[in-house]
């Protein structure tokens, strides 16, 4: 049997609320610390305790760390999902299970490893009764570690990090883990082909989740006000602010330069943030779909009254309450058209954890520069899962507070200004902030019709002028948007356009399409709407562009159609909506299907792998 080294997936099936996340994170982190590209995805139910939950890890030496559809190694701890879990192992794979589950083993094509978790824990006198289940999870980590060659030192490092150096829990957990490893060493015979071997491909990288990254990025952006309301999967973003603000914005005098307010609902959350943004604070809110729907009216006010505010939407799947713990890119067209009447939204589309950090601070610059709500669309996969990432980069540009007139500015121009006058021809007017002592500084903000001086008016001409200026402002704001990321390949004849968390899956699919199907595709990951000229040029260039996204209706495709009718004929929608983090399989198959439908003739899959592989995004970025 050929060894398969650093190229497989592991899935652990447990019960929600059973405390397995420490165990699973330990696996993930240990592999990461072994220098091997890795990702972990938590597939959990919308429930607190007792329902099946899975954690799936992808190990890939080439840096392809999108979720893998197939499970090479499965660890089954939950009797309720045992059958499903066993069935899910790929032929030739490995199946570990807790031996107190007495259910038939129906597979002969996989390596079966029963684990006496309960008895190992019971035999440890240091584990109190209440903690047996919890610590029991460490036993399977130990068994797995032994069987695939996880390094004990990196495991200890992972646990030490996890428990912030607190010795008691570290010891208790590590002991259980070692007991598992020892037991396996003595009792199990390796029958499967999966091995880990140390590499150096994660050197200099960090591991973080997007919500934490977004929170920290926002702090480096100088966030001063956040109004929020709990909702999965956005909650940890606001909680991240609560965690890190006291650390990163600690002052000698113990006073605070910020306020995070848990509002009574999402209407109030955005309302407060708009109030704060209007008053000159860097203000934000974070939510997910249902909350975003509730923010609709306020979003329209923000657009029309031109109030800077940042709105994070950590997307989950579904219309209505949907599946609160599944990922998606399904809020795009809604966000783009949010609010009754004519309106346009600025949308940022981070593609990984590092960009969650970057857009955390950039979004404030854009919101204040353009004086409008900025929506940042992340998703559950990016927001809640741990991703490898280049380290967060300190903002290399100073804060851009946009066009604000203070007392001295007003004195200079003798108080002669109009809140909605387009002085500079870029559609962006000047604003003043409450507390400005200049007697001409004040104006009355409203969501009703107003003229250049913020006075109430129902005049048609004033209405049209204002709305046309807002349109000019929107399209001219493209210059402040993050540029798309371009992943070219040699000899590309078609294009792939995508956004957000699908990048890893698309890079892998791009590689497969090129090397196994003869379809050479350049890949552009769009990072903002309004679109920048790079997007126009990209669409111009190819005869076929596949617009790849995680939703039913091909929402980016829809928006591109409205903005680029001239390219309508060659843009093909590849959309998928299973709620799971993107995998290369559906991207590849989706593109192949559309390519074929268009009469494209992919080459027969070639088995030979070419030497020059594109680097995966995370590892590639490190070098920059």
């Amino acid at each position: 049997m050929n060894k398969i080294v650093n190229d497989f997936s592991i899935t652990v099936g447990t019960k929600n609320g059973s405390g397995s996340s420490t165990a699973n994170n330990t696996i993930l982190r240990s592999i990461f610390k072994m220098g091997i590209p890795v990702s972990g995805k938590n597939l959990f139910p919308s429930n607190i305790q007792g329902l099946p939950t899975w954690y799936t890890i992808r190990v890939n030496k080439d840096g392809f760390i999108a979720r893998q559809d197939t499970n090479d190694i499965v660890i089954a701890i939950n009797p309720d999902s045992f059958g499903r879990d066993l069935a899910s192992v790929t032929p030739g794979g490995a199946f570990f299970y807790s031996d107190d589950i007495k259910q038939p083993i129906t597979r002969v094509d996989v390596s079966i490893y029963p684990m006496p978790i309960k008895s190992i824990v019971k035999n440890d006198p240091n584990v109190p009764n209440d903690f047996r289940d919890l610590v029991g999870n460490m036993v399977y980590v130990g068994v797995l570690a032994q069987m695939i060659g996880m390094d004990m030192d990196t495991i200890l490092a992972a646990l030490t990090f996890h428990f912030k150096g607190k010795q008691k829990p570290i010891d208790m957990n590590f002991n259980a883990l070692k007991a598992g490893a020892d037991w396996a060493k003595t009792n199990l015979e390796k029958k499967d082909p999966f091995y880990l071997e140390p590499m150096n491909k994660t050197d200099g990288l960090i591991m973080a989740d997007g919500n934490t990254a977004a929170a920290i990025g926002s702090i480096f952006g100088g966030v001063q006000f956040a109004g929020w309301y709990p909702i999965t999967p956005a909650t940890s973003l606001a909680e991240g602010l609560n965690d890190f603000l006291p650390v990163l914005r600690k002052r000698e005098d113990g006073k605070h330069t910020y306020a995070v307010v848990q509002a009574e609902d999402e209407l109030a959350a955005l309302g407060m943030a708009i109030g704060a943004g209007w008053a000159g604070l860097r203000a934000m809110t974070s939510t997910s779909g249902p909350g975003l729907s509730l923010m609709t009216e306020f979003a329209g006010l923000g657009y029309y009254a031109e109030v800077p505010v940042v709105i994070w939407d950590v997307q989950r799947i579904g219309p209505s309450t949907g599946l609160p713990t599944r990922t998606s890119q399904g809020d795009l067209s809604f966000t783009y058209f949010i609010g009754h009447g004519d309106s346009h939204s600025i949308i940022l589309l981070p593609g990984d954890v590092g960009e969650c950090f970057d857009f955390g601070w950039q979004s404030f610059d854009i919101a204040e520069r353009v004086q409008t709500p900025v929506f940042v669309l992340s998703d559950l996969d990016m927001g809640m899962n741990q991703w490898m990432s280049k380290p967060f980069q300190y903002p290399e540009v100073p804060m851009d507070r946009g066009k604000i007139l203070y007392e001295k500015d007003l004195e200079e121009i003798k108080g002669n200004w109009g809140r909605y006058l387009d002085k500079d021809g870029d559609g962006i007017p000047y604003r003043t902030l409450p507390g400005n002592k200049h007697p001409m500084s004040a104006y009355f903000t409203r969501g009703t019709g107003h003229d250049e001086y913020a006075k109430y008016t129902e005049d048609s001409g004033a209405y049209i002028r204002n709305m046309e200026r807002l349109k000019v402002k929107y399209y001219k704001a493209a210059k402040y948007m993050p540029k798309p990321v371009f992943h070219p390949v040699k000899g590309a004849t078609v294009g792939i356009l995508a956004y957000g968390s699908t990048e890893n899956a698309i890079l892998e699919a791009q590689y497969q399409l090129g090397n196994e199907h003869g379809i050479k595709a350049d890949f552009m990951r769009v990072r903002a709407i309004p679109f920048t000229e790079e997007v126009t040029n990209f669409l111009e260039k190819y005869d076929q562009i596949f617009i790849v996204e995680m939703n039913r209706d091909g929402q980016m495709h829809q928006i591109l159609l409205t903005e680029y009718p001239q390219f309508a004929g060659k843009m093909k929608s590849v959309a998928h909506h299973d709620g799971l983090p993107a995998s290369a399989t559906w991207v590849r198959e989706g593109i192949l299907a559309k390519h074929k439908a268009e009469g494209g003739k992919p080459k027969a899959a070639t088995k030979k792998k070419t030497a020059a592989k594109p680097k995966s995004s995370a590892t590639a970025k490190k070098k920059k």
């Binding site: 591991m207 920290i216 955005l270 708009i274 203000a283 804060m399 400005n436 007697p439 104006y443 903000t445």
Partner: protein
């Protein structure tokens, strides 16, 4: 005798802030002639003038409605936000973080606060945001032409709306139950009281809820609006094309009320309001007493006016957050962006 003369010249017309009353005015009102809301705007102007408040030290807020239009008609030199229907509280809550030294003055309507805005109204009470929250309470939706609001009394009959079958929302009781720290009721027709309560409210640190009964002379006028003309009734319109408004004068008490006094006031619609001033010995720091008085007033259909409750011990929202001295909206990058060194610290925390 010369000593007792007022200061000579122009200074006679300015207050201690050096401002004239004009500095507190707004645009001309576009509300109906006789609308109670106008009379309240005038008292806001007067109160701030007399308190020597600098208009730039205040922020004004409103929702949507006739009442919510009124901030346009006072304090031109004050930053203001005419927000969304029922959403003044959240806007004000966020905005006042911008500069915690500034005072908020919010004007809302009964529809704005008790119907669509009930949730935000209740929650801003809990948070004790530092602002005067005025509900210009007329029992109807003025701006949308006379539907019942949630404060309309049970049994009220309105043109085209029929009879209101529900018990009214009692703004003061709601505020009290939500632990508001200052709760008062007044009547737009009693400008002196309105002004005095406004001053007390402005001086209060925390949320001060003023439930001011403010007659809508246009849409609370169904029954006897034309009662002096026999054919008045004939004039009713089935197809709602007409909105005829007889010009009306504001309803004003001729004489200020004594403490404890009970007085009947005739409204334009022919109905009567029984005003009752709080007793002399009334202790407004006793929440339990306040509940008792309000329950009693509700049972007897009295409009009890005066300061119902005050609690000066509770911290305001911004003080709970223990903010720096400098207004937050004057902080600069140096205050707001962590130092470059912090980034390594953060990355280290990330595994």
């Amino acid at each position: 005798m010369t000593e007792t003369l007022p200061m000579a010249g122009a200074t006679a017309n300015v207050n201690l802030a050096g401002l004239s009353k004009n500095d507190y005015r707004g645009a001309p009102s576009t509300l109906c002639q006789g609308c109670g809301h106008n009379s309240i705007s005038n008292q806001i102007i007067a109160a701030l003038y007399e308190m020597n408040t600098v208009p730039e030290d205040v922020m004004k807020f409103s929702g949507i409605g006739c009442s919510s239009k009124s901030p346009t008609y006072f304090l031109n030199r004050t930053f203001g936000f005419n927000s969304l229907h029922g959403r003044m509280p959240s806007i004000a809550t966020g905005a006042l973080f911008g500069n915690a030294q500034m005072k908020g003055i919010g004007v809302s309507g009964d529809g704005d606060s008790a119907s669509i805005g009930m949730g935000q109204f209740k929650h801003i009470m809990r948070r004790n945001v530092n602002m005067v929250y005025i509900v210009e309470n007329n029992g109807v939706y003025g701006l949308t032409k006379g539907q019942f609001s949630a404060t309309a009394e049970k049994g009220l009959q309105l043109k085209k709306q029929g009879e209101n079958p529900y018990m009214p929302v009692d703004i003061c009781m709601e505020a009290l139950v939500s632990n508001a720290t200052f709760v008062a009721r007044s009547f737009a027709g009693n400008p002196k009281q309105v002004k005095e309560i406004l001053k007390a409210a402005l001086a209060h640190e925390g949320i001060a809820v003023l439930d001011i009964i403010s007659p809508c002379v246009t849409f609370n006028n169904q029954e006897n609006a034309f009662h002096s003309y026999a054919w008045g009734k004939d004039h009713e319109e089935p197809l709602h094309e007409i909105s005829y408004i007889a010009p009306r004068s504001e309803i004003i008490l001729e004489r200020e009320m004594e403490e404890g006094e009970i007085r009947e006031v005739d409204m334009h619609d022919g109905s009567t309001i029984i005003l009752k001033n709080l007793e002399k010995g009334y202790d407004p720091t006793n929440r339990y007493e306040a509940l008792r008085v309000m329950e009693e007033a509700q049972r007897n259909n009295w409009l009890v006016t005066g300061l119902l409750y005050i609690n000066t011990t509770k911290p305001t929202l911004t003080s709970i957050y223990d903010l720096v001295e400098t207004p937050l909206n004057r902080l600069t990058e140096a205050d707001l962006r962590p130092a470059r060194s912090a980034i390594d610290k953060v990355n280290a925390l990330m595994f």
